[in-house]
């Protein structure tokens, strides 16, 4: 049995003397203006929005992996499910939905339901490898359903092109890349605040206790399976929200979104930044997408480097960057969060 010391990821000991998020938000809000000074503002905006959406996706993965300690290799099911909900509602059913808000809400709802299914399956299995396989199988099955298209709504391997993106809440125009940037920024910020509240609540503490020692947590009276299912449902909500945003961002969706590498990406983004923290996935996603854009541009062989990152991370830095940075700046031995990543 591993020691059951709870890391200080809940911020009980790690305190910031400055409101670090104020300058961060200011910088993020100013970014489109900065981008517009360069010659390729559209591209930079596109990448920035992509980073924010995938950061939301990575944070949703972190709830399951970093907090609840279950390794899901099927997180693409949430992203892809959300994207396809958006695609089907706007393009395939003839509903003529002009606004993105109801679609986003529907995708989130879908994520909660799918999260329940996945959580139900995963919570029945004690072994981390079994959880890995069953989540993987769920994502794979969903992807195959989309490909097989038995209901004639997912248009098989063609994907769904031309997803409209006009307004949010019938007022805010998000047709332009910059408008969409601000909407995504607000959604990401609100999600961050919500997830922070969730993870710092007694519920979040219970998840950590289950992660550290499932058996002891159950002795303390926690219904382990209920908490695990709830973790998946929370994760599914934000994961599918990110999926719908992806569909609106790309204005299309294709079956590749269920690819197993997409699930793997969530893991890498989270672990690079620091699993078990909410800021970690943001940091990790930013680094990985920028690296992907730069390296992919220079070497045209991103997957090779991705594999090396997998190996290097898991061997030498399973705790992630953010805990290391924190430990450096707080000079507090207790706040050193090395190995906050689940050891399972």
């Amino acid at each position: 049995m591993k020691s059951a010391t709870l890391p200080n990821v809940n911020g009980q000991k790690v305190r910031f003397s400055v409101y670090w998020w104020v300058p961060l938000l200011a910088v993020l809000a100013a970014l489109p203006a900065v981008f517009s000074l360069s010659g390729f503002a559209d591209y930079l905006n596109y990448v920035a929005v992509r980073i924010m959406i995938l950061a939301l996706y990575a944070m949703s993965f972190d709830i399951v992996y970093g907090y609840a300690g279950m390794f899901s290799l099927g997180h693409a099911a949430f992203l892809g499910g959300g994207a396809y909900v958006a695609g089907i509602l706007t393009r395939q059913l003839g509903l003529d939905i002009q606004d993105t808000l109801p679609v986003l809400l529907a995708a989130a709802l879908f994520g909660v339901v799918l999260g329940w299914v996945m959580g139900f399956l995963a919570s029945r299995l004690a072994s981390p490898l079994a959880v890995l396989l069953v989540t993987f199988a769920v994502a794979e099955t969903l992807g195959l359903f989309v490909m097989a298209d038995p209901l004639r709504i997912t248009s098989a391997d063609n994907g769904i092109p031309g997803i409209p993106r006009e307004t949010l809440g019938w007022i805010i125009g998000i047709e332009t890349e910059v408008g969409f940037y601000y909407v995504v920024l607000v959604i990401l910020s609100l999600s961050y605040v919500a997830l922070r509240a969730i993870t710092r609540s007694p519920f979040g503490d219970a998840l950590l206790a289950i992660r550290e020692n499932r058996l002891r947590a159950s002795f303390l009276g926690y219904r382990v399976t209920h908490y695990q299912i709830a973790a998946f449902m929370v994760s599914g909500l934000f994961g599918s929200l990110a999926g719908a945003l992806t569909a609106f961002h790309e204005q299309s969706c294709s079956p590749e979104i269920f690819n197993f590498f997409v699930s793997g990406d969530a893991f890498i983004y989270t672990v690079l930044g620091g699993a078990g923290t909410l800021f970690g996935p943001l940091l990790g996603t930013t680094i990985m997408i920028v690296a992907q854009e730069v390296i992919g541009d220079i070497f045209h062989n991103w997957l090779f480097f991705l594999g090396l990152i997998y190996i290097g991370l898991i061997m030498f830095m399973p705790g992630g960057l953010y805990p290391l940075i924190l430990a450096r700046f707080t000079h507090d031995e207790n706040s050193c969060m090395q190995d906050t990543a689940p050891r399972s």
């Binding site: 981390p128 490898l129 079994a130 199988a137 099955t141 097989a148 997957l303 090779f304 997998y310 190996i311």
Partner: protein, 295 residues
């Protein structure tokens, strides 16, 4: 649907099953010993297929020399991966998921290297002249080579069964499987044996790749695609049980063959994953397994 069609699909199912069984046996012995799922297994299968393709088409070496060559290369690479990476993680007291991620990273890098060397265009391997042509069995005419694959897979499984049950080395390996600490106390060199078994598993994957080349074609994605089905086979078969692996391999092979015939290729795959989910939920120890399939 007539009897010819049915028996033809049955034979197809058995041929596919033979390849699944070969591959799954390598996976399942590693899973039994180390409790990890080697996600690089598909990579070794693909590498074996490319080694076979190159040796047959580019050099004069015969098909028969390819089998040991692919085995040697894949076994050495696999043993190297175990000795350098996985063993280190075990020493650092990391969990199994970390080891799985390590093999995954290795597989991704390896696949890119293969793409770099051989390109991404699918290739096909030619057959040795003795195995060309077809044979008449009852109502159907069937390719000789496919029959050979079934026979070869069967003999490898018999050899493995003899190894694990009747040789001193095999029994030592099983003792590690049952109780690693007790076995080490009695003087077994568990890390060395673990490396050897890992290499044996990946070597068999390489051989399976050579065999599958002429049937399924050779392309860089063949490994990852098959890996998913293999997961189902080993879970269905139960932990480290070779007999269980054979039974589940045949079952999955037939499900895919009949499913493809009656419904479609995609539907057959969905069926396979559905089977996997149901079994994980209701019988995590597998159909024939004694202990838990995965711990």
């Amino acid at each position: 649907m007539n009897i010819t069609m049915l028996s033809l699909q049955t034979m197809n199912g058995l041929t596919i099953a033979a390849i699944y069984i070969l591959l799954a046996s390598g996976l399942t012995i590693v899973l039994g010993m180390q409790g990890i799922i080697n996600t690089a297994h598909g990579f070794f299968y693909m590498l074996g297929a490319y080694i076979g393709f190159t040796l047959i088409s580019r050099t004069g070496l015969g098909f028969w020399l390819c089998l040991p060559a692919a085995f040697a290369v894949c076994a050495l690479l696999g043993a190297g991966l175990e000795a350098s990476g996985i063993r280190t993680l075990t020493k650092w007291n990391r969990g199994h998921v970390h080891q799985v991620v390590l093999t995954l990273g290795f597989a991704i890098v390896g696949t890119e290297v293969v793409k770099f060397i051989w390109g991404t265009v699918p290739q096909s391997t030619s057959l040795p002249s003795i195995l060309r042509g077809a044979m008449v069995i009852g109502p159907i005419v069937y390719p000789k080579y496919w029959l050979f694959v079934i026979g070869f897979s069967f003999s490898i499984m018999v050899a493995l069964w003899i190894f694990f049950n009747w040789t001193g080395l095999g029994i030592l390996v099983r003792s590690i499987d049952i109780n690693r600490e007790a076995s080490e106390t009695l003087g077994t060199n568990a890390p060395l044996l673990t490396t050897i078994i890992f290499g044996l598993g990946t070597g068999i994957a390489g051989v399976a790749g050579v065999l599958a080349g002429p049937i399924l074609g050779v392309d860089p994605n063949m490994g990852f695609e098959l890996l998913m089905v293999l997961f189902v086979v080993i879970i269905l078969g139960g932990l480290g049980s070779l007999m269980g692996t054979i039974a589940s391999g045949v079952l999955i092979g037939l499900i895919i063959a009949y499913g493809t015939m009656l419904l479609s290729g995609l539907a057959a795959k969905i069926l396979v994953f559905g089977v996997m989910i149901v079994i994980l939920i209701f019988r995590p120890s597998g159909l024939l397994g004694r202990g838990t399939a995965i711990e």
